[in-house]
Amino acid sequence: MRFRLERQEAVSGIGVLVAPLLALAATLLVGAIMFVVLGLAPLPAFYIYFIEPLTDPWTIQELVVKACPLLLIAIGLSFCYRANRWNIGAEGQYVAGAVLGSWVAIATQGTEAGPWVLPAMLVFAAIGGALWGLIPAFLRVRFGASEILTSLMLVYVAQLGLDYLVRGPWRDPGGFNFPRSVSFDPVATVPLLFEDGRLHAGIVIAGVAVLVAAFVLGRTLVGFSIELGGSAPRAAAFAGFDEKRVTYGVFMVSGALAGLAGIIEVAGPIGNLQPAISPGYGFTAIIAAMLGRLNPFVIVPASLVLALTYIGGEAAQITLRMPFDVTRVFQGTMLISILAADVLVRYRLRRVEGAAHA
């Protein structure tokens, strides 16, 4: 007996609903086995992981806060990936944006600078991220160097550059020589949406980015040229689309959005520049973009689900004293289940008779 995958022409509405359920079932099954092997009770673990975070307004708000940078970066990445440009260096573009944006905040700190500071920071951050993203684009267009490698290498360079700045020239003079910049002034801080809590204006920016990206990718000639350039470069060339411009364009968009995400985190939840500003958002966002099938609207729930795996994991560590590694295994299991279930919805598993080649 053999099985074979067959592509389904159109993903049915039911299928879209079935995928997450299937993934959940698979995760629960594997998770339950793992918990029992480790001597933990599965049911309370599942409750703490998935249900409890959704019952509490505070955790729901934290989910959104955690998902915000993932969402922004993943939307940018979807431009690149649709064009078949493998930017895996969003983490570096995030850092570069945060650095250039923070420069405005640090330069104006303690002065009478008005409410223009934050908008200027956002603009500079977008430019910083875009410039950092343009390096691999340039190296690819001009020299044919693989963007996968150069964008990844530039992540480390950006992080070390940030490290140098906060330990050297940008160190807070009143900070006992510890590696952090001054705390940003109120005019250089991303405002909160509500007085209490941590929901900040960056979430609005992310929401706007979703809508704009969905429009550009789905309804404009630019979106079409990106898609065509990615799937059928020759046809795109015949149609008169310039491959180089597409490469520069998608890297610029994705770098700018990653840079925005960077400054929003630094000027929002963190409040100053320091060596550690991202728990790997740039890499997690790759998963978010993939799970979201490069569709801005689907990336929204994908980012939220990823955020849930982190927050549920922390809750399980605190309440159940579950080791961090168990939460990591569980997170990995869940991602694998989601990916697998997603495939089984898009394709049909069919039994075939005989000795067909696998």
């Binding site: 050297g168 020239p169 020589n177 963190i270 550690a276 991202s278 728990p279 560590q317 605190i318 004293r321």
Partner: protein, 360 residues
């Protein structure tokens, strides 16, 4: 509308509290939360804090309940995790890395009833205490031993990241060494992080290849100790007693021992006498311990023990004058000592170190 909701919440909370209070008082445990920057399996900084947590559990039994979150990055996640610890009912929370300073203060502001303890920071509030350990006291002893034991006259020093604690450690080490041999040379290699075993081993090998026959480290893993053992040179451990990793190499090790401090603070909290303080314990308080002095001649061992006693009794201060900076300017006059606040923000090398402080 918002006002109505908050009133309703307050009312409900009040009812719950009122109903729960008398029962709670009789049986309620003190719930204590810890947040670590690394994995507890690093056998270094976070591992030692977790040893302190276990000592608290052992000391107080069912009067306390502890929990911890490991591997929390010092970025945007920290505030959420600390808040989550509060919401899980922990009323005494230890945040054990410098980068948790701002997040701790933010959460503390929202929860004035919860007690916070932040390690290695300098900002305090009514409900935020700070604590640190005088690791430089131990490093003075290491310097003396190194100067006695080294035959090549060159010691290697593996440093992590240029923060005041690490730079003060280098200075203290060198001052100790110069008190024995003013001509001792030190070679410093920064690995730019706290934890990368293979890189730490590479750094140790590089220093040995350049002629160092004693290796000191201010990084977390036992890799450098193992490299020293393999090459047949001597080394000092860090954070934990690393004698298993260097039975023939380890001279001694500076052991972070947070247990006495944690037990003292938990006791105060249990008795309702906890207040925000700034604690900086050293050898005297048992927060900094020296692993047994091994693999050295008896006279060197005697000298180390005498120095340890002198520091404990207050007769000897590692940063006692005269101390000169690299360019020869006098910073601490004869008969004076460097003030605590200056040690905590130290960013210069003492005379005799032939290198530059990174970022200066």
């Amino acid at each position: 509308m918002r006002k109505f909701i908050s009133m309703a919440v307050a009312l409900t909370a009040g009812l719950v509290l009122a109903a729960g209070a008398p029962v709670a008082h009789a049986a309620e445990k003190l719930k204590i939360g810890f947040i670590y920057v690394g994995p507890v399996g690093d056998f270094g900084w976070s591992y030692q804090h977790d040893q302190g947590r276990k000592a608290v559990e052992k000391e107080f039994g069912d009067k306390v309940e502890t929990t911890f979150v490991e591997n929390v990055q010092e970025g945007p996640d920290a505030e959420r995790v600390i808040e989550q610890l509060v919401r899980a009912g922990n009323t005494l929370i230890f945040t054990t890395s410098f980068g948790f300073m701002e997040p701790t203060l933010k959460v503390a502001k929202r929860h004035p009833k919860v007690m916070f303890e932040h390690a290695t920071g300098y900002k305090r509030e009514k409900n935020v205490a700070t604590y640190n350990a005088k690791f430089h006291e131990g490093r003075y002893i290491l310097g003396q031993i190194a100067a006695k034991v080294s035959k090549t006259g060159t010691v290697g020093y593996i440093a992590s990241v240029p923060i005041p604690e690490v730079i003060a450690g280098i200075d203290s080490f060198m001052l100790g060494a110069q008190s024995v041999n003013p001509n001792l040379k030190i070679k410093i290699v920064w690995v730019n992080g706290w934890f990368d075993p293979a890189k730490e081993a590479d750094a140790a090998k590089a220093l040995i290849d350049q002629g160092a026959d004693v290796i000191a480290q201010h990084t977390d893993s036992p890799a450098a100790m193992q490299a020293a053992e393999a090459r047949g040179v001597k080394a000092f451990g860090q954070s934990s007693n690393m004698i298993t990793f260097g039975p023939k190499a380890q001279l001694t090790s500076i052991v972070d021992n947070w247990a006495p401090y944690y037990i003292e603070r938990v006791k105060l909290a249990l008795d309702g006498k906890w207040t925000s303080t700034d604690t900086w314990g050293g050898l005297k308080d048992g927060e900094v311990q020296m692993a047994p002095y091994t693999n050295m001649p008896d006279d060197v061992k005697k000298m180390a023990e005498d120095t340890e006693e002198a520091i404990k009794s207050g007769k000897l201060h590692p940063f006692k004058g005269p101390i000169y900076k690299q360019d020869g300017t006098l910073v601490v006059k004869e008969g004076e000592v460097l003030a605590d606040k200056d040690i905590l923000s130290l960013n210069w090398y003492v005379k005799g170190i032939d290198d530059k402080v990174p970022g200066q």
